[in-house]
Symmetry: C2
Subunit: 323 residues, 2 copies
């Protein structure tokens, strides 16, 4: 879960010299940053360092990743023409640096832990393209979604095709699992998710079925969309802290895995609370198959790395004790 990041002094040191785009375009730097949390925190998986807007460049979208803001799109898409001019994405040509970074990272990791590849979900990417950056109310996105079905469908169709290609290429390059970050779907009603989003995410997950690579479906604030997310697809579902994990499993059904659930803010508290909150999750899980202990969202920049180290140790110890 966004494991490399500002909370790590070793990462900040690299970021002093290079911006995010420079890092993810340089396979050497990218793989270095990707393995940092494995080496420094002792976590059980690595997740490729990248940004969800990365593949948009190959589609002809110009953007900047601004400090403290996030991605800012130069020309937001608000009309059909904007969706029409989006180019086809071919990961082998457009994201060769990332595929190379994956290969390099796999070598560095030397099978110690699995490597997770990812991309943005179609709704979340569409919202960046339409709003022009991170949004609060998704006003332009929803207005377009409700009022201009031709543009919406073309945009979502192109994004779904591009993300399928991107994830397939990441799998070929060697990632052991993939994650679709559809971070903002929680701002939609279940009815709107079904009507405007579900089929596109479903298409992506369908195309990645049976490849022996677990598919993780991620969102935040979406505990009321769990049934819909399951319909869209995935083998493992990410839940945030707004729903107890046992309730989430009841809603999803026990044939899928769950990751997440710990509020990243808990890591800002003292170690006793970190342990008791984590123990609460582990007790609710009762050793159920398919549980991946994780935070419900990205690590906060204010997190002390030693707290994360303690958390990892505690979870490892807890599992040993109870198994």
């Amino acid at each position: 879960m966004r494991q490399a990041g500002r909370y790590l002094p070793q990462y900040r040191k690299i970021r002093e010299k290079h911006d995010i785009v420079t890092i993810y375009k340089n396979p050497e730097l990218c793989s270095e940053v990707t393995v940092q949390p494995v080496e420094l925190l002792g976590v059980d998986a690595a997740i490729m360092f990248a940004d969800i807007v990365l593949p948009l460049e190959g589609m002809g979208v110009r953007f900047q990743i601004k400090e403290g803001v996030g991605p800012v799109i130069e020309e937001p898409i608000r009309m059909l023409r904007g969706a029409q001019v989006l180019e086809d994405f071919d990961a082998k040509a457009d994201a060769a640096f990332m595929l190379e970074a994956i290969e390099l990272t796999k070598k560095r990791l030397d099978d110690r832990v699995p490597l997770i590849g990812f991309c943005g979900g179609p709704f979340t990417l569409a919202s960046y393209l339409i709003e022009g950056g991170p949004a609060r109310d998704f006003i332009y996105t929803k207005k377009l979604m409700y009022s201009d079905s031709r543009t919406w469908e073309l945009l979502m169709d192109k994004l779904a095709t591009a993300m399928t290609n991107y994830l397939q290429a990441q799998i070929q390059a060697g990632v052991d699992a993939i994650q679709l970050f559809d971070s903002w779907i929680g701002f939609l009603s279940p009815q709107d998710y079904r009507r405007y989003v579900l089929s596109y995410s479903q298409r992506i997950f369908k195309k990645l079925e049976g490849l022996g690579v677990p598919r993780i479906h991620f969102a935040t604030g979406a505990s009321n969309l769990l049934k819909e997310m399951k319909l869209a697809g995935g083998d493992v579902f990410s839940v945030d802290w707004t729903i107890p994990i046992d309730v989430a499993w009841q809603r999803l059904g026990y044939d899928v895995g769950i990751q997440g659930n710990l509020d990243p803010a808990v890591l800002l508290a003292d170690i006793d609370l970190i342990k008791s909150e984590s123990a609460d999750i582990l007790k609710r899980v009762r050793g159920h198959r398919g549980h991946v202990f994780n935070l419900g969202h990205g690590m906060l920049p204010q997190t002390l790395p030693e707290n994360a180290v303690e958390l990892v140790k505690f979870v490892h110890g807890f599992n040993r004790e109870s198994s």
Copy 2:
């Protein structure tokens, strides 16, 4: 629901000359702005124009309401001392202007529609005081809540006492219903809400019981907290669009009322979609007693007033047809 606002040209005209604080401190202007939506849109209730930080001034907190940002607190509270120096709030002395505005508004409305008074919920106000303004991740709030129980409890205790006094005074001044806006509780896990917030909101609602004034409990993104919100209290619960209204009623129980549910962004679409989305809500409600048709959150500034007028007409007509 935040009915007076930037989407109304008549409101913008007043705002060109006066800032928000000037308007709510001037009973004449305040009541004028409060009745605008009743006269312009034909809605069935008026809600006092104010800001949830209003009573903080009487507690000795210095703040500004900044355009496009919201309230900015001069000295955020991060330690015990900050909570200790908060002064007692006495609405009759500290918010006399608001009580006068209520009386004036009651006269202006002349019993055409009921008048709703409101205040911020204790968690939401605490988060403003701790973060220093509107937040995204509630990092400082959660850190304090998890790690410094003495400061947290004192702060929540003082806010609960102050808000009880403020709402009691509003009821005495003549409001017909009150609303507690605990807008940000949806960022808490159900366990954290129970542990750190519930008892304070409960105290407020208990003190306002049996006064013949319906108590509305408002939050957004909190569909997973409905059971906890009901425990805290209220006669009517506000739900946003992330949960179908019939499902919300199942979770809350049929002995309480529900308001809300329509995504304010729907009002940005064309009238056919506005009607079909509203009809969907009304059909799910099936004329159940205690339903208050409303948006799930505030009117967006981009809303065309004529769309709101059409919505009000449609809902009135629908109810007539089906009754």
